[in-house]
Amino acid sequence: MTPQPSPQAGAPAPDARELRRLERRELHRSRSLSASIALWLTALAVAAVAALLLLDRTGTTVPGATLPGSAEIASLAGGAGAVGIAIGAAAGLVGLAMLILALAPGRRSRRALQREGVAIVADDAVLASAISRAAALASRAPVDRTRTTLGRTSAEVALRPPSGFATDTAAADEAARALIEALRPRPTVRVVVREERDA
């Protein structure tokens, strides 16, 4: 069987731009849920005001409840009072939260590994544990006493050998670097290996 694009799907060969797009979507959070909540919140707030105004105009009363009418709604914007200020401040905070959600980068703790032909994304936790293991095996330190803290562009490997045992920090550094070079994460990660001794 020869590989060829399927005629019905009409798919062109996966170009680099499409792969980058997939990768970008996987690296960032979706705001579908927050956008939906924001829309519903706004819609219900406007609809509630509209309902109160309509009830007020038609003179409908709900038994057992005193609903605010158009005079109260107007005084919320016009009159003085702590309640008005509190409501205004709350609306401002809601708006601020929405703006932060819209403008923040929304990165997930994952990173892209550069490779031809496919888009690969790995969780930071997986990458950190892989670096830990490579460094520990190379330096003959126990794997469960090795910890890697992954920043955006740096990986800090802390080796904690048991007392009385020596570790080969240089070998750990080399192994971790070799792993990073093989994986080619974007942005690239600088490795710093240090040895911690129990006091």
């Binding site: 798919a11 205004g88 994952r110």
Partner: protein, 182 residues
């Protein structure tokens, strides 16, 4: 992964956030410095008084509720149960997953594999392959073999779609026992 527009979501959030923030600021300012707000709004006061705000609020509320319903109903679409192979033949995603697993071979580091085909924008198909791996997996080897297996799976199915591979740990990795002598 779906084909929902991320840009639209962010624009909606930015727009609504600005509206809420502006409304809140005006209400607070009205209570703190009413003279300032009155002075600023005096040119439009005559127009505002002639508008029937009940009708405006009702129309706006109905339109927003409709918009919210449509927005909510159209999120997260595009996932498909079938992958399209050569000559437009639909192959179930589980069959694709089994084939992928076969191509991957036996890898103790890989706990689970999942293939999710979906239709990206403009009807273009794509695959998302999720690999759950153990803590401390040999990531270079996993990535190498995962990418090769993905290419071979495509070749065998005669498909040519963009593939995204997501290597994750997750809960399964946390509870899995080590089956390897380190």
């Amino acid at each position: 992964m779906s084909r929902s527009s991320r840009t639209l979501n962010r624009m909606l959030l930015a727009l609504l956030g600005t509206a809420w923030l502006a409304l809140g600021a005006v209400v607070v300012l009205w209570h703190v410095r009413p003279d300032l707000v009155h002075a600023a709004l005096s040119p439009v006061a005559a127009t505002a008084a002639s508008v029937d705000w009940t009708i405006v609020a009702t129309a706006a509320g109905a339109a927003l509720v409709l918009l919210a319903a449509v927005h909510g109903a159209t999120r997260g679409r595009g996932r498909s149960g079938d992958a399209v192979a050569d000559h437009g033949i639909a192959v179930d995603k589980h069959a694709v997953r089994d084939l992928y697993r076969l191509e991957l071979g036996s890898m103790p580091d890989v706990l689970d594999v999942d293939v999710q085909p979906w239709w990206a924008r403009r009807g273009r198909p794509a695959w998302r392959i999720a690999l759950h791996v153990r803590h401390g997996a040999r990531l270079d080897e996993v990535v190498e073999r995962a990418a090769t297996a993905a290419e071979r799976t495509q070749q065998r199915l005669g498909a040519q779609v963009p593939i995204l591979i997501h290597v994750s740990g997750g809960l399964r990795a946390a509870v899995a026992t080590t089956r390897r002598a380190d």
